[in-house]
């Protein structure tokens, strides 16, 4: 008997555990429900206490009790437990104040094994895919999910069929091909790919991680929230800033915090949730800003392709999460995305992909609007790696003329290209020369 099962979010009917994401009764989405009373007992008895969790291996499986994993499941990859660290220089740049100790980066740009938070959701989905007897797993993807499904499938010995919009970044396509997955490029946008996958899932017995395995898959996102709480010393932040594509991550971080509170693992706290989108694909932030209770679909047009979902499946729930928390949502233009990628890199040494640029850019707006205050503890969710979207930086940095390997050449180059008064070594050498001369 499992400690979790699928339950319809709207009518409450339970469905046991099976590859299914929709309630046949009312056509509403299913989610995973847990036996929280049993889990609370484990917390009290110490088998799932803070101390016990902290002694476990540093990966997302340390929260297994709050994940829908088959009983026979043995983790084969150390996914998650990515760094959470203070970002004082970025705080200074974004908030313009000296209070710099309260901004944190949750850096899933270095998540194992494919450098995005999608490794978390796929790890959970594939544990179930195997238990349900699928030999083929599949997904529709804007890139990061494609990489993750392909890599995890290789590790698990499953076949992978990956459906992507044909205009994806080359690095994300290559990063899927390399794992031996079958990549199907669709001449259309993500929403069209996703619709096609719903139809294929109807016809083929494949484990689509974001269709028939979606309730399980989505639970993997909660581990971002569990880790943030634990890494802050088992406390919740004041604010979360989270990029939104389908809108699932922000709702699952909220669910993670609620579960930790419910189990007494953290003190109760009202966390504000802030969503970040690219202006060229901003159905959720538009709904927040206009006060609408419905999401109007959009045709995506942005360089932030990983967020280019015009008809977000979880948009309705993301909107509710943001509104009910007292948060807000912002969006940024493509040039702002590029500037923000550079800002994070130059301020904190983190190279994020376009989605991270969206998050940083929106965080700046939220600080300037005083929706986020400098003395509040704020976590920015950086969900992907900049090495996958280098094409957006093409032309930003010019290729320098090579110089001969001679000191005189370098000195000449230095004189030509730099204001030498700003180069500490040159200044020190000039001072030394002056002193010797005196």
């Amino acid at each position: 008997m499992s400690h979790y099962e699928l339950r319809c979010r709207e009518c409450g009917r339970t469905w046991g555990n099976q590859p299914r994401s929709i309630c046949d009764e009312c056509f509403s989405p299913l989610e995973v429900a847990y036996d929280y009373d049993a889990l609370r007992t484990q917390v009290v008895e110490g088998t799932f206490s803070r101390e016990r969790i902290s002694q476990r291996a540093p990966n997302m499986w340390r929260y297994s009790e709050l994940l829908p994993l088959p009983q026979s499941f043995t983790p084969r990859l150390p996914v998650g437990f990515t760094p959470l660290f203070n970002a004082p220089h970025l705080a200074q740049k974004l908030s313009g104040t000296a209070v710099a100790g309260n901004l944190y980066i949750k850096n899933d740009a270095v998540c194992m094994p494919t450098l995005s938070f999608k490794d978390r959701v796929v790890a959970v989905a594939l544990s179930q895919a195997r238990a349900f007897g699928f030999d083929t797993v599949s997904c529709s993807s804007t890139g990061n999910l494609a990489n993750a499904v392909a890599a995890h499938a290789a590790r698990e010995g499953l076949k992978a069929w990956i459906f992507i919009p044909s205009d994806l970044e080359p690095a994300k396509i290559l990063g899927t091909n390399v794992f031996g997955a079958k990549v199907v490029r669709i001449a259309g946008n993500y929403d069209q790919v996703n619709r096609l996958c719903s139809q294929i899932a109807d016809e083929h017995r494949w484990g689509f991680v974001n269709v028939n395995l979606r309730p399980y898959y989505a639970e993997g996102s909660k581990t971002v929230g569990f880790e943030i709480a634990e890494q802050l010393g088992w406390r919740l932040p004041d604010n979360i800033v989270c990029p939104m594509a389908g809108g699932s991550l922000i709702t699952k971080i909220k669910k993670a915090f609620d579960e930790l509170i419910k189990l007494g693992l953290v003190e109760p706290k009202e966390v504000k949730f802030f969503g970040a989108q690219a202006t060229g694909c901003s159905p959720i932030s538009t709904a927040v800003k206009t006060g609408s209770s419905e999401i109007e679909p959009q045709k995506p047009n942005t360089i932030a392709r990983s967020l280019a979902i015009g008809n977000p499946a979880d948009g309705h729930y993301a909107l509710k999460t943001i509104k009910n928390s007292g948060g807000w949502s912002e969006d940024v233009s493509d040039p702002e995305v590029v500037d923000s990628i550079r800002l994070l890199a130059e301020a904190e040494g983190i190279f994020t992909e376009t989605a991270g640029g969206v998050t940083v850019g929106c965080a700046g707006k939220l600080y300037r609007q005083d929706r986020i205050l400098p003395d509040e503890t704020t976590v920015l969710c950086i969900t992907g790696n900049g090495l996958k979207t280098t094409d957006v930086l093409a032309g930003v940095y010019k290729t320098e003329r090579p110089i001969a390997p001679k000191l005189t050449e370098f000195e000449a180059y230095l004189q030509q290209t730099l204001d030498v008064d700003e180069v500490p070594g040159v200044v020190a050498a000039a001072q030394e020369a002056a002193e010797v001369g005196a």
Binding site: S21, D24, G188, A313, H316
Partner: protein, 93 residues
């Protein structure tokens, strides 16, 4: 105006297993009337108590989301293929 309507597996138990029908309807309202008549059990799964299209049901015409074509005001063209596709959302406590 003959159009074809594809019904997803999740709804076929309300259509006695029928996965596709050809019918005459000039707009979405008429199409729903046809479906209501043909498959009375299907009705509550397509629209809520207030008669609004259910939030988690997406309707496509020839691969395009009907909301981009004018939604309720779109006039079906002869030979249009209409897809009813469940929106796959995760949900939250």
């Amino acid at each position: 105006m003959p159009i074809t309507v594809q019904i997803p597996t999740a709804l076929r138990r309300h259509t006695a297993g029928v996965g596709s029908i050809t019918c005459a309807a000039s707009n979405l309202t008429e199409l729903f009337s046809v479906l209501d008549e043909k498959f009375p059990e299907l009705k509550p799964h397509l629209r809520d108590d207030k008669g609004q299209i259910r939030r988690f049901l997406n309707i496509y015409v020839n691969e395009e989301d009907i909301r981009f074509l004018g939604g309720q005001t779109y006039a079906f063209q002869e030979g249009d293929e209409v897809l009813l596709v469940p929106s796959i959302a995760g949900g939250v406590e």
